[in-house]
């Protein structure tokens, strides 16, 4: 048999595996290293305050007398009332909540335009709970290196126990988080007993289950994925930041060229920046990014890289602030200095004097940069909404009168020729105390009222008791004698008055008469 030679054809696949793009990327595990420093301390403090507010608020008591609940903050859905310390809100006063949301929105603009994504970095529930879950993870599995080792290790009894413990504690936190939420909607001390005896409403258990699932999934499993892929705020921040907003910045102008071999490079006459490329900032980052790549949407500006880098600078005996809160305008100015106006790559010798101190030509952040037209407009709008809310709260009526004129029929001719109109009158007693309200009609000569279901002689005024914190609906007939009739539609006033507090409200109504009678 002769050897068969098979020639190679000139062919290649359209999608060679080497260059084929990845369609779906698995999550890269992130093992943030523990840091210590001012920002870490500040974050502990914020975490304690925010978690404290969340878990403890429903347990605060506030005495409102015998006719209203004594829970300081309560969303009473069954009776459609919202209680917040001194303030009680009825459904039609929901604009107070809208006002607070407007203030929260403008407040977010204000904060972001001055100190960047402080909301993301310090107070967002996602950040706070991830931080809390990381505390648990570190306590059980150890810090970054131990966790990475454990993760790479094959499954052993020890790994199983550690992982099971961690997830169990996470679940307990998650249940407590979901559990705390429901106490805002019912009397907390009573509800907690019901929850444990199985007597609470199904909605309570469903709420706990849903919030447990989201807390466990978002805080324990998804973490940075929530910020990067699910939250819209990182996309909005670009519009909120400007060149005078503080944001966590790696200062290339003193860090570059980064080098791990400064001792060799310096005598060789090569320029060397302050960054020793130790990756401490990357290891500390809970988002798993490298801040030295510049501002990016994944960065929540938690500032833990500042703390991590500060420790390294201390060891090297260099100034703090290689990574720092800086504005884009300062950064750009300093970059111009370091690159001689952009004509070269960064040359660290340009930012320092011969003695090794920073040059005087460098820009530093000054507090006045916070006070600029934009932030004044935000602050003004924020304060205006706030003052309007406070003013409206202080002057709002706690006794309201609403009148609905019967439309079908608009008027009724009675046998003596007088004309009767019907009105549905609603008296709103918006304080948690019983009151006696005097209802009077003003104008409409000769007219008298009678009230359905209340046995009173017809007259121009009557008193009626109204239950605390309730609406009383009355059906009132107003009758005007034939010889006193005015035009087609006469206006007159209903007046409701509390004779004890002199609080009163008026409503202008119309009285209709048929054509024949006039």
């Amino acid at each position: 048999m002769g050897e068969t030679r098979i020639g190679r054809l000139e062919a290649s696949p359209a999608n060679p595996s080497k260059t084929r793009p990845t369609r779906y990327a698995a999550r890269k595990k992130i093992f943030p290293k523990r840091t210590s420093g001012n920002f870490r301390h500040f974050k502990w403090l914020v975490m304690a305050i925010t978690l404290g507010i969340y878990y403890l608020t429903p347990w605060l008591r506030w005495n409102r007398g015998p006719f209203a609940p004594d829970q300081a903050v309560l969303v009473d859905l069954a009776n459609s009332r919202f209680y917040f310390f001194l303030i009680e809100i009825w459904p039609q006063e929901f604009y107070y909540v809208s006002g607070l949301l407007v203030m929260a929105g403008i407040g977010l603009f204000l904060i972001t335009s001055t100190v960047g994504r402080a909301w993301c970095g310090y107070t967002c529930p996602q950040t706070v709970w991830v931080d809390l879950f990381l505390v648990v993870e570190r306590a059980i599995e150890g810090d970054r290196n131990a966790r990475m080792k454990l993760d790479a290790h094959p499954w052993t009894a020890r790994k199983l126990v550690l992982r099971a413990t961690k997830h169990a504690i996470w679940l307990i936190i998650a249940v407590a988080t979901g559990g705390a939420w429901i106490f805002y909607f019912a009397d907390a001390p009573m509800l907690i007993g019901q929850v444990f005896t199985g007597a609470a409403a199904p909605a309570a258990y469903v709420t706990i289950a849903v919030l447990t699932a989201t807390t466990y999934t978002f805080g324990g499993l998804m973490r940075e994925q929530v910020c990067t892929y699910m939250c819209p705020w990182p996309r909005i921040q670009a519009a909120m930041l400007d060149e005078n907003s503080l944001t966590v910045t790696y200062n290339d102008w003193r860090g570059e060229p980064r080098s791990r071999h400064a001792k060799k490079a310096l005598p060789a006459g090569q320029p060397v920046g302050d960054c020793v490329d130790c990756n401490a900032c990357v290891a500390a980052c809970p988002m798993g990014i490298d801040i030295r790549d510049g501002q990016q949407l994944e960065c929540i500006t938690c500032a833990l890289c500042i703390d991590a880098c500060k420790d390294v600078m201390d060891k090297l005996g260099k100034e703090h602030g290689l990574i720092s809160y800086a504005t884009l305008s300062d950064y750009s100015a300093n970059m111009a200095v370091a690159t001689a106006g952009g004509s070269s790559t960064v040359n660290p010798s340009l930012v320092r004097t011969d003695e090794g101190k920073f040059s005087d030509s460098l820009a530093h952040f000054h507090i006045r940069k916070i006070f600029r037209l934009r932030t004044f407009i935000y602050l003004g709008a924020w304060s205006a909404v706030g003052l309007a809310l406070v003013y409206s709260l202080l002057t709002r009526e706690r006794l309201e009168l609403n009148v609905l004129h019967d439309r079908n029929p608009q008027f009724v001719t009675l046998s003596d020729g007088s004309i009767r109109n019907g009105y549905t009158v609603k008296l709103l007693n918006m304080i948690p105390e019983p009151r006696t309200i005097v209802v009077t009609i003003q104008g409409l000569p000769g007219a008298e009222m009678s009230v359905v279901g209340i046995d009173l002689p017809a007259g121009r005024s009557f008193a009626v008791p109204v239950e605390p914190d309730r609406l009383k609906m009355l059906k009132i007939f107003v009758r005007q004698p034939a010889d006193r009739l005015g035009g087609a539609a006469q206006t007159f006033k209903f007046r409701a008055e509390d004779k004890a507090s002199f609080e009163a409200d008026e409503y202008t109504a119309t009285f209709s008469t048929p054509e024949i009678a006039r």
Binding site: R23, M222, V412, L414, R420
Partner: protein, 287 residues
């Protein structure tokens, strides 16, 4: 438009879609995202198996859970009916004054009566019970057959001039066109009109009163205040079923119209009739 290339800044390939120089980066999706997407598809398919979904030629798949929105409505209606049951039973067994004395029962009865009114009574009496020519206004204080709740109940139960009900309210005004002269009719019409308003020719009133005394007082009474025993209307008030002018009165004297109201007891049952009576009584004219 579709020119795949590598983006200079990010080093990521583009989808080839470009809008005004902005190219869409072809970043990989997170795997959890695509997994969630597939789970929602699986969920949707499971949903269509569990619940009624796929349309067939004349019906649709029933779904293995046996859910039906029609059954859901029926169950809710049955539950609502059961909830009303104790009120309806109480209304059936109690008398009108007893029902009126019980706040909760009265409110229920008036609300239920209002609903029944909308279905059965608006055709003649109008949606606001304001009536129209020939159909009495139920809001006012003028009652042909009595405005007490029991009297209203009686009227609703057996109707008025409703031939097939032996207990119906019955009366008939003679057609005076055949009994008295045209002059007498003009005189008596002027007299009746004068009781509640002005007339054109006051000289007719005096002879008219004589005609009235001879022919009308038997039913309408000496003082023309009417008589509820016969449903004879009060002729002195401002309320006129067929119009209050001299012409309208003359037409009614000559050849009177007689309204008919059906008896409702057989159709609606005792409880509904009581509810309707209380509702009508509550409109403002009840006595």
């Amino acid at each position: 438009m579709s020119d795949e290339q590598i983006d200079d800044i990010s080093g990521v390939s583009t989808t080839g879609h470009e809008w005004d120089g902005i190219r869409e980066l072809n970043n990989p999706l997170p795997r959890w995202w695509i997994t969630t997407f597939y789970v929602t598809i699986a969920w949707a398919i499971g949903y269509t198996i569990a619940y009624p979904a796929w349309p067939l030629l004349h019906s649709a798949t029933k779904g293995v859970l046996g859910y039906s929105s029609r059954n859901g409505v029926n169950n809710e209606l049955a539950a609502a009916e059961a909830g009303k049951g104790k009120y309806v039973a109480a209304i059936e067994s109690k008398s009108l004054p007893e029902i009126a004395a019980d706040d909760a029962l009265r409110e229920f009865a008036i609300a239920a009566g209002g609903a029944a009114y909308k279905v059965n009574c608006t055709q003649c009496h109008g949606s606001g019970a304001q009536g129209s020519k020939g159909f009495p206004n139920l809001n006012d204080d003028d009652w042909l057959w009595g405005g007490k709740a029991e009297q209203i109940e009686q009227t609703i139960m057996h109707g008025i001039r409703f031939a097939s009900d032996p207990d119906t309210r019955l009366s008939e005004m003679p057609a005076f066109g055949d009994l008295i002269t045209a002059d007498q009719i003009a005189q008596v019409s002027a007299y009746v009109a004068s009781l509640s308003g002005k007339v054109k020719d006051a000289s007719l009133i005096e002879p008219g009163s004589k005609v009235f005394a001879e022919n009308c007082v038997a039913c309408h009474g000496d003082n023309a205040k009417g008589n509820r025993e016969f449903g004879a209307p009060d002729l002195t008030d401002s309320i006129w079923l067929y119009g209050g002018g001299e012409t309208a009165i003359a037409a009614q004297v000559r050849g009177p119209k007689h309204g008919v109201m059906p008896a409702w007891l057989g159709r609606l049952g005792e409880a509904k009739v009581k509810e309707l009576a209380l509702y009508v009584h509550s409109l403002g004219g009840g006595e």
